[in-house]
């Protein structure tokens, strides 16, 4: 298995609070991604990174920001969480052709 960890694995928070999810890799892959998974929508890309300090928006980036200060870490921040951001969040890493996914973080916003 690719060395990808996500933390926390589960989180319950309240509307309006900031939340940061962490993705850590030990594979030294250049590309890292954040997806959210909701019933009936598959996985949708939030943001991705193609190198340290190089990031870009995905399909559903509103309300989210990211940072990548080191190759191995990719952070996803919800500045002010809303109930619509309740979801399962997956991090992925890739070399060129294959994406490897982490175990996911289940986030509940009350």
């Amino acid at each position: 298995d690719a060395g990808i960890t996500q933390s926390p694995r589960h989180k319950v928070t309240e509307t309006g609070t900031p939340v940061t999810l962490r993705c850590h890799q030990t594979e030294n892959h250049r590309y890292m991604y954040w997806y959210r998974q909701d019933p009936g929508h598959g996985l949708r890309l939030i943001h991705y990174s193609y190198g340290v300090k190089d990031t870009d928006k995905g399909e559903v980036s509103d309300g989210y920001s990211v940072s990548r200060s080191k190759t191995e870490d990719f952070l996803l921040t919800l500045e002010s969480a809303t109930s619509s951001q309740t979801s399962v969040y997956f991090c992925a890493i890739s070399d060129l052709d294959t994406q490897y996914f982490g175990p996911g973080t289940r986030l509940t916003v009350l």
Binding site: G42, L43, Y50, G58, E59
Partner: protein, 110 residues
Amino acid sequence: TQLLEQSPQFLSIQEGENLTVYCNSSSVFSSLQWYRQEPGEGPVLLVTVVTGGEVKKLKRLTFQFGDARKDSSLHITAAQTGDTGLYLCADTGGGNKLTFGTGTQLKVEL
């Protein structure tokens, strides 16, 4: 925006039966990937198909890519309980940004 529709949405069968699930795109695929996701885990890549009309086999799984590269099917022969999971198709978009389909949830029972 590309739309990937998968059918059926849910499928429940007995062990030993055969099944086919489908993925249809509103536009031509760059290349298509199939993933399987087990409960509580991230998706895992099964196969990548690139050429129209291409057929790939992975043990009891057969993947077909439509001649026009707008549809694909996954056929499982003699399903086993270990095949249970969410099957997702995805377009690679010619780069690293995946667009996922809505998924088919398969349950194989004894």
